[in-house]
Assembly symmetry: C2
Homo-oligomer: 146 residues x 2
């Protein structure tokens, strides 16, 4: 996987946070409206901009919600009967922190235990591999927010 230079990091590397939440509140985990509100707040607290939110309430229980962000996405899948939620938060840009989103969801769902894994997504560095006329991320604020 390509390595980026230190001074390119803010614009070229996304961080993907994978969290497992255990022993959460089954009622909250099974409420589609609660999960939607929690994901909206998680996006806000992480510094991201929410563009759209889609969700599904499974029968007889469980919720999936996906938040499309200017900076990538948040997802949550819940198993209320197990007190469990699988969360991932992928954000790009120095102004966002996906770990904050995961931690907020852990608190909101009253999860007593959690594990967290942080992955770096190695977006190729424009400055290293492309000529400026092909793409200059400094001229495209919206693009660099993803």
């Amino acid at each position: 996987m390509m390595k980026v230079r230190k001074n390119d990091v803010d614009e070229t590397v996304g961080r993907h946070c994978i969290a497992e939440l255990y022993d959460g509140c089954p009622k909250k985990l099974n409420s589609e409206s609660f999960i939607r509100e929690a994901l909206t707040e998680a996006a806000k607290r992480s510094g991201a901009t929410l563009l759209s939110l889609t969700s599904h309430n499974f029968t007889p229980q469980g919720v999936t919600a996906l938040a499309l962000l200017s900076e990538s996405h948040l997802s949550i899948h819940t198993w209320p009967e197990l007190g469990y939620a699988a969360v991932d938060a992928f954000t790009c840009g120095a102004h966002t922190d996906p770990e904050v989103a995961c931690f907020y969801l852990k608190e909101a769902l009253v999860a007593e235990r959690y594990t967290l894994k942080m992955l770096e997504r190695a977006i190729p560095s424009v400055n290293l591999d492309r000529s400026p006329e092909v793409a200059d991320p400094t001229q495209n604020e919206e693009q660099t927010h993803r």
Copy 2:
């Protein structure tokens, strides 16, 4: 993270495949309709059931698409100017293979190089940790598909 017994694996462990696609076709990477069709086909080929699909076309370029599945989700974020796409495919159940979804997207986007990382998501095992009256996944086919 909790370990599940071998005979619980199919119902209790999700697989989350994280892929980086490099040197793909900029035109395809920048076409929201192409990305939506590719994600739909990727879901189908992985054995998953697509429940909803949401997408966004960034200005001046780039697409994000999120597929909500019965079995979890697929996501893709593209940087056409870099020939790059960040993909993740999270599916649950023995009938699905998230790697197939990632590989299909690599082919569809004509990515010359890719990296792939497979994570196991450790959903707690009902049979190990809960009494049957709390939750019995065998009585809930839809739930076990996530």
